[in-house]
């Protein structure tokens, strides 16, 4: 493919056509903070933390998906960009527990984002769900990056065990009629845990260790759970899989 030349923060850059603005910036050492982007997932450009200002564009542009164009003039830290990134980070901190998201914490420092900016804000505090022997789900830490849903579905596993509940601010990750994971199509491949950026999904053993259990106790606890999983309360495969080929 032919090369395209554009300007990023005053520097001329030539990159192959089809390159995203984010990649083009990276190629000259300009770092753009991306939260939802992940190589293994179809990009949905939904965190909007990677936005940049492009001359002539009405609104800011998500650099993780927007492709370069000839003679484009890009600003990665204009006042508009800074305000959006800072406010997005502040709003995120007002909604969920970011204590196990070091990347986002670093961005908050870079953008002087105030975690207490929104007093009296309703947080998405929800109890941790411990319903299977493999992992726990602590959606009070979930930033709705969609990665787990995507890898469970057509980005990787084709299992379709999880999807969304609610809408808007009330959105959460959920299962069919809120069933516990063992009663869903989940095959416990752990892909979702692997892509979760905030510790919302965590291996059960790691979580039990954090709770102060020692190795033997952790092993005993997860074995107990495994046994419980085989008990007759479990749904049959037919009911579990219903409908999906």
């Amino acid at each position: 493919m032919s090369d395209v030349t554009l300007t990023i923060d005053g520097q001329l850059v030539s990159v192959p056509a089809g390159t995203t603005i984010l990649q083009a910036a990276q190629s000259i050492g300009v770092e753009i903070p991306a939260i939802c982007y992940h190589e293994a997932c179809t990009p949905n450009a939904l965190c909007r933390n990677c936005v940049v200002e492009v001359e002539g564009a009405r609104v800011l542009v998500a650099s993780c998906v927007a492709q370069v164009a000839a003679n484009m003039v890009v600003y990665t830290r204009s006042p508009r960009v800074e305000r959006s990134r800072r406010t997005i980070l502040e709003m995120l901190a007002s909604a969920v527990d970011l204590s196990e998201a070091p990347e986002i914490q670093r961005m908050m420092r870079d953008y002087a984002a105030d975690a207490q900016r929104f007093p009296e804000a309703e947080r998405r505090d929800v109890p941790l769900i411990d319903d299977n022997p493999m992992y726990v789900r602590d959606y009070g830490k979930c930033i709705l990056c969609w990665r787990c849903v995507q890898v469970c579905a057509d980005d990787a596993q084709y299992t379709f065990a999880i999807n969304f509940s609610g809408r808007g601010y009330e959105t959460s990750i959920g299962t069919f009629f809120d069933k516990p994971m063992p009663a869903t199509t989940c095959v416990f491949c752990g892909q979702c845990v692997g892509v979760c950026p905030t510790g919302a999904l965590k291996p059960k053993s790691e979580w039990l260790l954090e709770q102060g259990l020692n190795i033997e106790q952790v092993f005993a606890a997860t074995r107990q759970e495994r046994k419980r999983r085989r008990e007759p309360t479990q749904m049959s495969g037919e009911e579990k899989g219903g409908g999906h080929d």
């Binding site: 949905n44 450009a45 939904l46 965190c47 909007r48 933390n49 936005v51 609104v59 800011l60 998500a62 998906v65 508009r80 305000r83 959006s84 800072r86 406010t87 997005i88 709003m91 995120l92 007002s94 909604a95 900016r117 929104f118 007093p119 009296e120 804000a121 309703e122 709705l144 579905a153 379709f160 065990a161 999880i162 999807n163 969304f164 509940s165 609610g166 809408r167 808007g168 601010y169 009330e170 959105t171 959920g174 299962t175 069919f176 009629f177 809120d178 069933k179 869903t184 199509t185 009911e239 219903g242 409908g243 999906h244 080929d245």
Partner: protein, 584 residues
């Protein structure tokens, strides 16, 4: 978890319906869920399992879809659902009090069902009955002008059936409206109806597109995109089949123009859609009607039947000997404002949650089912028959150079004669609001006009001479939007109105992108305390930061405009965002 007892569930009637829908696969998900809900009153788990099996949709996805749409119920509801509007036009006329009175009478809170399962009361977003505020949708039936005395009647199913008054200086789009019932095919043809389609079919598709381009018609759905250019893009795009879609999801608070056109003159809309289909070579057309518009859906159902019998619609039907044919399918929305956004609407037809897609690519090349698609607003399509029969030159005799033709405006709020107004582009706001609509009610003074809807901005009395055209309003920094003109008198507390608008957006955000998912919620929280006289120091800056971030960084038009009224008020009346509220 569902409280449905598995053994009570009779799958047989549903299975019959699913056998018919199965060939469509996932695209039939919403119709299947709606059919199941009509049978069982809600969506019991075993019914959704049947649906998943028949349409081959994963169960988690089905649950995700049910959760997205406010009119799909995973839990049992009352036999009658009362949707009580508390959005701006109704709030001005006591909508909150009506909601409270209904709840008190039934002994429930909003969102709850009476213990005898007779009624469920829901706080509803704008029902498109703003000229009959406050409004209630009782099951499938619209009731207007509800007051505290008539609450009992509303529960009994009695009440004022709203007929929208149509006024104006021209009679092009509303020729068949104002009579309180739908024009029949016979009446429509007697008025010269379907002559536009006849004429179009005698022209080449390229000639039809050229005529629409020459007319200068600009989309009326809010984005103001030139219609002819859009059609040309889809006509020239590679890929088959092509689709044409009528966006009849009208849900912008304050807007009711499309509802009136559909309820009273459905063939006009249909004729426009058929011409659009011919122009781009579409094999199939969809009409996606808002879920809260049962009367419009009914009128269009009848009209599509009539048109089908008359040979204007149908797969393989050689329309008027032209060799062209098109199938039309009606779809009913399920309670989600965001599904008016064109790409969210496609997702909804495809049986998914109504999440807007990233653009590019655009619908003209990658639209419904990933195919070239034209999507137009109801009012846009209603202009088409006239453009084709009379030609672009005659069409351009009305309106301004840059905004040709006529425009429908929805007047509501504190105005003497609320209703639907048709005027040529270019009249002044003063002419529309005072000369035609009689000015402000009860002899009060005008404080402001909410322009363009919830996603709009405020105009002040010193802007009354603004020219009502795309260019005139743009110069004044006002959005035309969907044609909303909501008058607010001097006594109104703008803080309360802003908090109401913010509630609407927080309720309707799809939740996909962070700026809008969290921003609409934070904006609502702040404006609620501002309205309660409990503003915190720094709230004006918080609102500005949240607002500009939503405007600049959101994925779609919902987030991009969710703060536009707030930002306009911050500029006009910065003092109201501070400290005590003396209007309390």
């Amino acid at each position: 978890m569902s409280d449905y007892i598995g053994s009570d569930f009779d799958p047989v009637p549903l299975q019959g319906i699913l056998a018919q829908l199965a060939p469509q696969g996932r695209a039939a998900l919403l119709p299947a869920l709606q059919a199941a809900q009509a049978l069982y009153g809600y969506l019991p788990e075993p019914a959704t399992v049947e649906i998943g099996r028949a349409l081959k949709v994963p169960l988690a996805d089905i649950h995700g879809v049910i959760e997205f749409y406010s009119l799909l119920y995973a839990q049992p509801k009352g036999k009658t659902v009362l949707h009580v509007c508390t959005d701006p036009a109704c709030a001005l006329r006591g909508g909150e009090q009506v909601l409270a009175a209904i709840c008190q009478r039934l002994g429930v809170q909003p969102g709850e069902t009476t213990p005898d399962r007779e009624y469920t009361v829901e706080r509803a977003p704008c029902l498109g009955l703003c000229d009959h505020a406050p409004a209630v949708l009782r099951g499938q039936e619209a009731i207007g002008a509800v007051d505290l005395q008539s609450v009992g009647d509303v529960l009994q199913g009695r009440g004022n059936h709203p007929v929208t008054a149509c006024y104006g200086e021209t009679n092009d789009l509303i020729a068949g409206c104002g009579k309180g019932r739908a024009t029949t095919l016979t009446e429509y043809e007697a008025r010269g109806g379907y002559a536009g389609l006849r004429r179009a079919l005698s022209m080449s598709p390229a000639e039809v597109i050229a005529e629409v381009k020459a007319s200068g018609l600009v989309g009326r759905g809010g984005a103001a995109f030139p219609t002819g250019v859009k059609w040309e893009g889809a006509a020239q795009a590679p890929g088959q089949p092509k689709y044409v879609v009528c966006n009849a999801d009208e849900s912008e608070p304050g807007t009711f123009k499309d509802r009136v056109l559909m309820e009273e003159d459905p063939h006009l809309v249909l004729e426009g859609l058929l011409i659009a289909g011919y122009a781009i070579g579409a094999a199939k057309g969809y009409l996606y009607v808002r879920g809260e518009y049962p009367a419009a859906y009914q009128a269009l159902t009848v009209a599509v039947d009539e048109a089908r019998r008359a040979g204007y619609i149908g797969e393989g039907v050689d329309i008027l000997g032209s060799g062209y044919s098109i199938e039309i399918e009606l779809r009913l929305g399920a309670g989600a404002y965001i599904c008016g956004e064109e790409t969210a609407l496609f997702e909804s037809i495809e049986g998914k949650r109504g999440f807007p897609r990233l653009k590019p690519p655009f619908p003209t090349t990658h639209g419904l089912f990933g195919k070239p698609t034209v999507i137009n607003n109801v009012e846009t399509l209603a202009n088409i028959p006239r453009i084709v029969t009379q030609g672009a030159a005659v069409y351009r005799q009305l309106g301004t150079e840059k905004s040709p033709g006529v425009k429908l405006f929805c007047l509501s709020g504190d105005v003497v004669r609320p209703g639907l107004y048709e005027v040529p582009f270019g009249v002044s706001l003063r002419h529309l609001l005072f000369d035609l609509a009689g000015g402000v009610r009860q002899g009060r003074k005008l404080q402001a006009v909410l322009f363009g809807g919830a996603a709009g901005a405020f105009a002040t009395p010193d802007q009354l001479d603004v020219e009502m055209s795309f260019e005139g309003l743009r110069a004044a920094g006002l959005p035309l939007g969907s044609g909303v003109v909501m008058a607010l008198d001097e006594t109104r507390d703008l803080r309360r109105i802003l908090a109401g608008l913010a509630h609407f957006f927080a309720h309707e955000s799809c939740g996909k992108c962070y700026p809008c998912q969290i921003g609409t919620q934070r904006q609502y929280e702040i404006l609620r305390r501002v309205a309660d006289g409990k503003a915190l120091p720094g709230d004006a800056e918080r609102l500005a930061d949240v607002g500009w971030t939503m405007a600049d960084a959101s994925i779609c038009g919902l987030g991009q405009t969710a703060a536009s009224a707030t930002l306009s008020a911050l500029k006009l009346w910065p003092e109201i965002f501070e400290g005590k509220n003396e209007k309390l």
